[in-house]
Subunit: 247 residues, 2 copies
């Protein structure tokens, strides 16, 4: 068997999320359908670095699978892309050792979140950025980042729907910058809890509008209770941007 | 009655084109539905600078309509945008004299056409740029522009489905530039025939690939026959960018 690592990109708009679900259109479902076609009817299961929710996009999700076929990387890309629907694309393929695992071997993940700041909405980014036309205090937002970066118990910033016991994660970097009419957030960390990036964005936007201040963010983190925190920003502004592995 | 001029933007993906058609979702249909709601059930007809086809986008289409309501421009924008679906937005509203006409008073129009040049397709621009991953000879393409710019009979570059008798139009400017992974064409002219921009783009891309050369473009124009020319580039790369009026 050959273990194949693929970097894929998808537009989350028309998917019920990454993970297979009965009677739902999912990214996993579409990729496994393409693999089944390439393997003449044999089922091939894929493993991803993690799930993404409905409407959430991926610029660089990573998956792996095992195949009895010995195909050069270049041809894997062609074979997969001609079998996949237009909202999923394989960007890179690499043959890896059988010890590699797309989920267990992750060393860090980067997420980005796009916020459209223009007064009027924009038809072309309606599924790709969260429209938030309010004035924001960037200085106060920046002030609150120091409390979030580092190793913390992020219970306050995790959806209560999670099944994870251990809520300790390390955030290496949070950053935001302007790009045209947008504010783009970058989060790099060892891993993120369920809805964590979207809750962090929702909270940082409330800091920006002056509903809470940076010291409140510190307190919220210390309280370890989900209910004290701001809204979860919508999924369509979120991108799984990059997954990093040792090698 | 108050004559109102609106600049609107729409994502053409889910429309059967601009113009109303029975049992089809159209831009005109959606805007007139919003106006009917604002006018408590009275029908208000709109006039546009021109039609656009299915899947074609507008960054700055211009329309006008007459209303008995005396509403400040700012409030028109709000009223319309809260009634319109997410793929149409009003960007600007201006009260104009009753002599103004969105179609008859046009002095020039700008269209843009986005071509994605990356090797692999991109999921996020699949409905917004034409994927054309071939190498292009920009110099030869530039060479052919001199034959197209100016006042000509553009019969060779007009769909045979047109109902226009006079095929003479003036192109003031054609230009192309790179932007990230894309090649963007700009066309500015007095007006354009049916499918003319898409046929010009299809032809210029054939010049770029070396299937024809710049002198062939000159000959094709002089022959005044549609059948001699290259493919019509797909609608989803095309944007009605700006409409200009004297004032």
């Amino acid at each position: 068997m050959n273990r194949i690592k693929c970097t894929i990109s998808y537009d989350g708009t028309l998917f019920a999320g990454f993970q297979s679900q009965p009677d739902q259109r999912t990214v996993q479902g579409e990729v496994e359908k393409a693999l089944k076609r390439i393997h003449k009817g044999s089922e091939i299961k894929i493993q991803a670095s993690g799930r993404t929710d409905a409407t959430v996009h991926a610029y660089g999700q990573v998956i792996h699978f095992d195949s009895p076929l010995a195909i050069p990387s270049r041809n894997w890309i062609q074979a997969l892309n001609s079998s996949l629907p237009m909202d999923v694309v394989v960007k890179d393929v690499e043959a890896v050792s059988e010890g590699f695992h797309a989920r267990y071997d992750v060393t860090s993940k980067e997420y980005r979140y796009r916020v459209l700041r223009s007064k009027e909405r924009d038809v072309f980014s309606r599924a790709y950025a969260f429209h938030y036309p309010y004035s924001l205090n960037y200085e106060e937002m920046r002030e609150s980042l120091q409390y979030l970066i580092g190793t913390h118990d992020f219970t306050s910033f995790c959806s209560m729907k999670t099944d994870k016991e251990n809520k300790v994660r390390t955030i290496y970097e949070i950053d935001f910058f302007e790009e045209n009419d947008e504010l783009v957030f970058r989060f790099i960390g060892s891993g993120f809890l369920y809805n964590m990036v979207r809750i962090l964005v929702g909270t940082l936007l409330e800091v920006g509008r002056g509903k809470i201040n940076s010291l409140d963010v510190k307190k919220i983190l210390e309280q370890k209770k989900r209910e004290n925190v701001g809204k979860t920003a919508p999924g369509h502004g979120l991108y799984l941007w990059r997954v990093t592995y040792d090698n």
